[in-house]
């Protein structure tokens, strides 16, 4: 489905890295670096400790940065559980999983 020539296995680490960078910069997580975020760490609650406002912000970030539209019915699912689950979803559903130009907008 995506427009790169990379396989899913090649894409996943790149997508995870990009996701972590986006979360740190766009959610103003000043006390942590992208490298410190565990791939399987819980994003909400215990773990990274993000809240409901971060959740809806992530939906918009994914839209802008990866062109994925998370449907209402998917929001409650495990897709938001960790970096891994998000990265998997992006690789499965995004037309450009390496990111878009709008993701480079200055914060």
């Amino acid at each position: 489905m995506n427009h790169t020539n990379l396989s899913k296995e090649e894409l996943l680490p790149k997508v995870r890295a990009k996701l972590k960078e986006l979360l740190v910069s766009h959610l103003a997580l000043e006390d942590i670096t992208p490298e410190e975020i565990g791939d399987d760490e819980a994003i909400f609650g215990e773990g990274l400790g993000l809240d409901s406002l971060d959740g809806v912000e992530i939906v918009v970030l994914l839209q802008r940065s990866f062109g994925v539209n998370i449907k209402e019915t998917e929001k409650g699912n495990d897709l938001f559980r960790s970096i891994n689950t998000l990265a998997n979803y992006i690789v499965e559903n995004s037309p450009h999983p390496l990111g878009t130009a709008s993701s480079e907008k200055e914060k």
Partner: protein, 387 residues
Amino acid sequence: MGAISSPGLNTAETLDSFRAARSRPGHLTLFESALDLPVFEVTRFEAAHPYSDGVRTRELASHAAREALADAALDLAALKTTSVGICLGTTVASQLNDLAFYRDYKTIGCASMAPVKRYLKGNLAEAVGAELGIQAITATVTNACSSGADAIAVGAQWIEAGLCDIVLAGGADELNRVPLCGFHALGLSSPFPCKPFDKHRRGLNLGEGAGILVLESPAHAMSRGHRPALTLCGYGSACDAYHLTAPHPDGRGLRTALGHALELAGFHPGDIAFVNAHGTGTQDNDLIEGCTLAAVFGPALPMLSTKGYTGHTLGAAGGLEAVFTGLALREGWLPPGIGFVEQDERIPITPLREHTKIHGRFALSTSVGFGGNNTALLIGLTRGEIG
């Protein structure tokens, strides 16, 4: 009392819509947006000016204020010799959010100062005072969705403190692109007409309007031989102190506000005939508000749920719903809640499914806002009045 919103240009038309259980959500016509969400516009309102940020709110407010003054048998000439206050809640009218202004600034580096000058002339309460030609103490409350109710509480306190004999108090907001985009981004907007408290609710619809009460000191009313049918018996307000956009899961602020309103009025929960709930149609609000109301009053308390008729009118909501509460007490009946079909098993209390007679003379209206504000107004039939 004066009210203008989707169900009607005045209280009489509003009651007609409630009698017929008629709701008119529609597509956006006031301005352009890529978002095709159901909204509750006041479609037959003949505004003096074409749609423009903030100006329509002032016109809606003035319109409702005029009705309220007429209902209170007060003319503008009489107000010249009275100490008057105007306290109004709003969101849109207090923001410098003129998109055309900002677009010009961003793209060509300069912009007309007309919207800025209009904004700097004062704010909503001051502008309404100027439009009506009333010399008044004016204040504009910007407490998000509880603004209208909070403004009424402030107005009551001005009278108690002896600052004014009469206060025009309530709220107004026009439909506006900024909250339309914002609530959608928060995932709080429903793509179909809202279903407050329903199991399958998907969020709110925005609406617009103004709801205004004329509050009067008992001494002043007596001095001019006027007997208001309704009394503001109590009010309470408390903050969840929890989160910018999410309510406290235990509804603690709402409980405190309800308790305070009852205490101020000297009442118990059993004295309340019904509650006008905030009931926006969002998952969180309806769950927490519903559970809290059920815990305080019991699940059998009749609930007036009106956002299925009006949409969420933001700063106007608290004012409009105070008017609807007063109207219901005066008329003696409650309309059914629109959009409610199936009970959410987590919420023990439900909106009414059919027109219901009221038994009792006192009611509460609750407003719950962004930032965790919770306000309750306790309104009653004045002693001697029968509903």
